[in-house]
């Protein structure tokens, strides 16, 4: 088999894995948009905030330590514990639920019946607030996140492919774990929305707020639940990306990777987020591999958007998005 074809196969597989990581971020956007019609600009910052909180809880860091020390002249930084990853993840999930409640209580309850653009603007404000709040709470240093996920080359795949092609493929163990987790997450979310009372209520709210209200569904509860779910997805994305690059403020920029996925997959479809992520991941990696060297490289950021725009020409609602027909 020609070398270039073998290399392309390796790039293709890595593109699929990268796509799963993009899809993880996009999922959070989809959940909130589907249930409330809000495009949540702060989803990337939520991933950052969740990861910061997870590291803080795991390492026993004192929140607002800098502020406390500067105000009271103390020198406290750590509680002195180191929690197991699972306990810290559960506690962080609790924090994300509290955040979901606070966001709805303090912001969105006051914006009921406002135009979507107003709600979008509110999430921009929320993003900037949370970025600063996270900074004050946990500090701006880059934190190592280690919840025990494997990283580095998968030697089994390396050896098997070497036996087949005389060239060992590189597949990152972390990407394999991310793929498994993303698959489980999607299955769980689909089952939740299809087979539970709360899930059906969520779908009812997504279809028609007023009709859902008229049959006794609490809009407030559903929104808090959806923001909590989005917080959970943000936590999973924060763990994956934070393990790759350390927990730092650039983590919020992963939202930029989710936008073309949403454009392509549609804003309202969970499977769309996954398929969109895979297409973007594979598309940008193969383009960089095949065309990048001819035009100076570093094509991935812009090519993802070009790819999404090409799809939009043919399906403006995205691959799996709902076709909205407004009758006058």
């Amino acid at each position: 088999m020609p070398d270039q074809l073998i290399f392309a196969m390796e790039v293709f597989l890595n593109g699929l894995m990268a796509g799963v990581l993009y899809a993880l971020v996009a999922l959070g956007f989809v959940l909130i948009y589907k249930a409330s019609g809000i495009f949540n600009y702060s989803q990337g910052v939520m991933a950052l905030f969740a990861a910061l909180t997870l590291v803080g809880i795991m390492e026993g860091r004192v929140p607002f330590a800098h502020l406390i020390n500067a105000t009271f002249g103390t020198e406290i930084h750590h509680f002195g514990w180191h929690l197991p990853a699972l306990a810290a993840i559960l506690l962080t999930m609790g924090v994300m639920v509290v955040l979901a409640w606070a966001v709805n209580k303090l912001i969105f309850n006051h914006l009921v019946n406002q135009e979507p653009i107003i709600l979008f603007m509110a999430t921009i404000g929320l993003a900037y607030f949370m970025e600063g709040f996270g900074d004050v709470m946990w500090g701006a240093d880059i934190k190592k996140l280690d919840v025990g996920l494997p990283q580095g080359i998968n030697t089994a795949i390396d050896e098997i492919t070497y036996g087949w092609f005389g060239y060992g493929f590189f597949i990152d163990n972390l990407d394999i774990v991310a793929t498994i987790i993303a698959a489980l997450l999607v299955i769980a979310l689909v089952m939740f929305s299809q087979y539970t009372k709360q899930g059906r209520a969520m779908r009812a709210v997504a279809d028609d707020h007023q009709a859902a209200l008229s049959v006794g569904i609490s809009l407030n509860f559903i929104w808090i639940m959806v923001w909590s779910l989005a917080g959970f997805v943000a936590l999973v994305a924060g763990i994956m990306w934070g393990t790759k690059m350390g927990v730092q403020f650039s983590l919020s920029l992963i939202a930029l990777k989710a936008l073309p996925v949403l454009m392509l997959g549609g804003f309202t479809s969970i499977p769309g987020a996954i398929v969109g992520g895979l297409i973007i991941g594979v598309g940008e990696k193969l383009f960089e591999f095949a065309i990048g060297p001819m035009i100076g490289g570093a094509t991935e950021n812009w090519f993802a958007y070009v790819l999404a725009l090409i799809f939009l020409v043919f399906r403006p609602q995205g691959l799996f998005g709902e076709k909205i027909i407004e009758r006058v």
Partner: protein, 427 residues
């Protein structure tokens, strides 16, 4: 009531502003945003050095130092706003820790007559003081860094890199592209194969780039990165099992922030530096006595001894020494920006001077002149010791290949002079 409020507001502004006789060294810091982890230690070191001079020596030459800090968030527009907001305070010199801000400020500081120091960053050809009278970039620049990296590789390879493969992984920006021409010239001279691998901002996803590196199997990788690009690159290099001691970062890819996320696997990674590392210096004793123990440390006070904190200290030390030189030249303590420029152009950093300041062997020796605003191009190699969690200098200061670098600086600066109608002059 309105009158009272106006009076209070005016009073607050006057109290916040510097006294007219103060020596004003504005700090264009970035403590927020995606690059905060790099901006904070530099800003803390810069501030702590001036605080030390105020507390221990009463300032410089009897003049207290004022250091208004302005947050840029590493954003070029905000950097320019900071400059405009502080230049009329009597600012003596600017040190923007950003090549983007530097490029925007070059025409402004030239028109306003305020010196700017861009150690290890900014426009490399600013070294030619005959073309750029208000710009200084001592002790080393990007092109020096590229050349010193190659010299180190030559040392490692017994002086022969013919047919060796060297890959440059770079931030796909004006900054990241700076070393390309120098490396191309060095490639012709020494016969190594150079390949270029750009990474788009911000650089959280580099799988394609490192798959390419894995396929190409270079002997060495040089990196010009900043921010998250550094951490991801080091992690990806670990993932593909690229040997860390063959991976050399520029000084902006050589802080604790860059290596810690990869943990023990980052052990052996190398980075250039134009100042020394660690906190084993007499100056740190003074900092402890006069700054830290008095609760006057900048920021959270948790950056002491880190690579970027030391760079902030070093940057402040260089301009403080230049201010002293200016005071000596002009015989006045309350110097103006023009006098400060004269002090910077006459600055001489010797080992004796650094030792007397409590920073023995902290940086290379150099003498600034009108023709040479950039020092002599010395830099050293640091290596990360993951077990000890610290950087260690593993070489002496190595001079860049002046035969290659100097003609490039001459050509670039003269092209700038021609484009902008500048007549180079050292009169």
């Amino acid at each position: 009531m309105k009158m009272k409020l106006a009076t209070l507001a005016l009073g607050a502004v006057m109290a916040a502003g510097p006294a007219l006789a103060d020596l004003v060294f504005p700090s264009m810091s970035y403590r927020t945003g995606p690059y905060a982890a790099g901006g904070i230690p530099f800003a803390d070191g810069y501030a702590d050095y001036f605080t030390l001079l105020n507390e221990r020596d009463g300032g410089i030459g009897g003049e207290k130092i004022d250091m208004p800090e302005c947050e840029t968030a590493y954003n070029t527009e905000k950097g320019v706003e900071c400059y405009e907001a502080t230049k009329d305070l009597g600012s003596l010199v600017y040190q923007p820790l950003s090549t983007g801000i530097t490029y925007q400020l070059i025409p402004k500081v030239t028109a306003d007559g305020i010196p700017m120091l861009t150690s290890g960053l900014g426009r490399t050809s600013a070294k030619n003081g005959a073309v750029f009278p208000w710009l200084f970039n001592f002790p080393a620049n990007y092109w020096d860094g590229a050349s010193v990296a190659i010299k180190h590789i030559l040392d490692e390879e017994g002086g022969d890199v013919n047919d060796k493969k060297i890959t440059l992984v770079y931030h796909n920006s004006a900054y990241g592209k700076e070393p390309i021409r120098t490396l191309e010239e060095l490639s012709k001279k020494h016969g190594f194969d150079l390949s270029l691998v750009p990474v788009d901002h911000p650089g959280q996803e580099q799988k394609s780039q490192w798959l390419q590196i894995r396929r190409d199997r270079p002997d060495y990788v040089i990196m010009y990165g900043w921010g998250v690009m550094n951490q991801v690159a080091i992690q990806e290099a670990v993932n593909i099992r690229f040997p860390m001691d063959k991976f050399i970062g520029i000084w902006w890819s050589g802080s604790e922030n860059d290596v810690r996320p990869a943990g023990a696997a980052a052990d052996g990674y190398k980075a250039l530096t134009f100042h020394n590392l660690g906190d084993d210096y007499p100056l740190y004793d003074d900092l402890k006595t006069f700054v830290y123990d008095k609760g006057l440390a900048a920021g959270a006070g948790d950056q002491h001894g880190t690579a970027l904190y030391n760079r902030g200290l070093y940057g402040a030390m260089l301009v403080a020494e230049a201010a002293k030189t200016a005071q000596e030249i002009h015989g006045v303590s309350a110097i103006t920006p023009a006098m400060m420029r004269d002090g910077m152009e006459a600055l001489e950093m010797t080992e004796e001077k650094m030792a007397a300041l409590g920073l023995p062997a902290f940086g290379p020796e150099f003498q600034v002149t009108c023709e040479n605003h950039g020092g002599n191009g010395f830099a050293a190699i640091g290596q990360w010791d993951a077990a000890a969690s610290e950087w260690k200098m593993i070489t002496d200061y190595i001079q860049s290949d002046q035969e290659i670098v100097q003609p490039l600086i001459e050509a670039d600066s003269m092209a700038y002079a021609e484009e902008n109608g500048i007549t180079p002059s050292c009169d």
